[in-house]
Amino acid sequence: MQDQQRAAFREEAYELLGELETSLLELEEQPENMDLIGRVFRAMHTIKGSGSMFGFTEVSRFTHEVETVYDMVRNGALSVSPQLVSLSLAARDMIKELLDADLDDGNVDQQRVQELIDGFRAYLKSDSSPAKDEVVASSSANLPKNETLPRVYRIHFQPAADIFLTGTNPLGLLNELRELGDCHVIARTEQLPCLDELEPEKCYVGWDIILTTERSVDEIRDVFIFVEDDSKLSITLIEDGSVEAEEGGGSYKMLGELLVERGDLDKETLQRFLDGRKKIGELLMDAGLVKPEQIEAALKEQEQVRKVREKRQQSSPQGNTAEAVTSLRVPADKLDKLVDLVGELVTVQSRLSQTAAVRQDAELTAIAEEVERLTEELRDNTLNIRMLPIGSTFSKFKRLVRDLSQDLGKQVEMTTSGAETELDKTVLEKLNDPLVHIIRNSIDHGIETPDVRRAAGKPEGGTVHLSAEHSGDSVLLTIRDDGKGLDANAIRAKAVEKGLISETDTLSTSELYQLIFAPGFSTAKTISSVSGRGVGMDVVKKAIETLRGSIEIDSAPGLGTLLKIKIPLTLAIIESLLVRIGDAHFVLPLALVEECVELTAADVAAAHGRHLANVRGQLIPYIPLRQRFAIDGDVPAIQQVVVTQVDQQQIGFVVDHVIGEHQTVIKSLGRMYKDVSGISGATILGDGSVALILDAYELLHSSAAEEARQCAIKVA
């Protein structure tokens, strides 16, 4: 159990560190934004508190130092400087290292830890307090616009009797709560003695507070952070905005019920009084059983919840469309398992449909159709659960751009658009390294130094713009920089030097640009987030193609470079075209397929041994797959050419029969077959047989390479 809790904390901490990085980078640009300061503080506070609770002593001890500084920043005693942001980013990395070290039983550089702690302590003593008029008080105007529906909290706060002696003004805390939302405060004065017994320096008053806010419990608790240990504090969520809208216009609990729930009255007494004719509140007050403030607090709670519910119902005529979105943390492997099971279901459903079709049983066919419809819905919903906005990946790059441009002495700003565009979690993870590589290249080789840019009449600061948008069943990512652009002559020279082209080859500028993706153009063999700069675009291309995506490049000398990446939304299930060669079945991703044309024996003969199909007067090269995969058997008199668009060129794949569209649940081939070229995976068909998924890119490239090799042999 402890391990599970530690793992859950670690997961939460990693997420918080991701958010922290984003907040710090934003804070660098808006150092007086109290909301951002609050976010940084809360992230540190949560990591420290939860870390300590789950035995991450080192993490907690270290984070405490950072939190201390940010507490002073949020109180206006210190200001945010670029130095503090850099120090905090380094601390963020150190917290991650400490978490990683705990997982891998590794060590962290203790000297570095101490250096950072010293850095924060020095900052505390530094003269970085803001001028009085610069202190920005937290106000409701600074609060973030949260799109969730407001929640209603019942807060009971009874400060310690000696709170005045600690210098804390409880009314200040109430005012802080008011900044969080609509706040109704009712003082509880029952502890207040008669004047002769009163010790004026003691606090006798407590409060019932009804707070309607979009903020979380943690954020509310933060208000009481320095007094919580000595006070009685309870925060209860009484309306979370996600409760089904009640029938009868958003009614809430009756007053008596509320008083019992709030602990002001016992059930039996309530029952006794319910028979009376007067209003329950008056009856109970008359009998001296509850105090007016208790009635007021309960009535205020009733009123607030009613208001929230009415508001929700007004914004949704049906009473359900504006329900707040609640979220649930589910481990990724459980989702993967769910997708696997849905994949199995799709396969079984396919078998059912096939069996129903064969038996020609109307009843069975009707059931099969119903199952098909439900399976499709289930598939879409399941795949949708795994979708994540690409914004989280974008924000990671902001740090990369910041650090790299500082290292290289360049001024680079990263801008983004379409951060809300969603992609499958797996695709997103696999996309990270290629994008890091591209951005590194843009900053290192694309964006010029400020003096060069100035001399070229450009602004000193360069821009890298990342955008994402949906395009059919794919997502189109673009990475545009306003640097110096590609040098076509240099590319040509290097391509000649590497033997990729001969000196006599005439290539258009666009074709020359594509050469940077050619294997052998650069020397890097692997791609990682720390790989070398300016190398390995072929590896980037390979990584994109592994995702069944494509990449294109365009550039204008002196103006910049544009990279376009097209990626499928998901890797789990694809729409494909099922084909057959002999007894073997294959599938091709439908997104690549343009059309299918017939190829007769006469057509083959007319091409004089060259693999070219004449499609409405246009010659399209094709790959005879029977030959490519050495499948025995007779070639049918009329074969089919599946014309596809791969790497901006048309290529045909010759098969015996085109069976039709197929919903393909992708299964990996396993390690034994990882080196098989031309095949990217497999799928199970309705009858239980296996169909291989064709890797069109690999087939094209290997075929081109083979052709080049044959030509070389002939020349020799």
Binding site: T189, C194, L195, P200, E201, V205, M285
Partner: protein, 114 residues
């Protein structure tokens, strides 16, 4: 804080001018206790109040409570001045109805006319 006591036909009027805050809370308490020692009703004049915090509010609340328990006439003048009203609202002392033992609304310190 400056305090003055004036005798009337009904009792005494205790006038408070200045801060009714934590540093003066004990003084305020002692002055009110002394005023209650006088016969008749006690009217507390807070028109000249320049500051009021929770400690001051507690003294007033405790005085009100003492008066109820000891069945003494206790009135406050100046409850509707802005500073007093604002502090009563901010501290959550504001009530819509008087406490049941005091009866009439206008006698209650914490019933604020908006």
């Amino acid at each position: 804080m400056e305090v003055s006591l004036k005798k009337t036909a009904e009792g005494v009027i205790l006038t408070v001018v200045g801060e009714g805050t934590l540093p003066y809370a004990d003084q305020l308490k002692q002055e009110i206790v002394a005023a209650f020692a006088q016969p008749g009703s006690l009217t507390l004049d807070l028109e000249g109040l320049e500051g009021l915090d929770l400690a001051g509010m507690q003294v007033l609340g405790a005085a009100h409570r003492w008066a109820v328990v000891n069945q003494r006439d206790f009135h406050v003048v100046g409850c509707q001045q802005n500073l007093f009203k604002q502090t009563v609202i901010d501290s959550g002392f504001a009530r819509q109805h008087s406490c049941n033992r005091m009866g009439l609304d206008h006698n209650c310190l914490w019933v604020i006319n908006h």
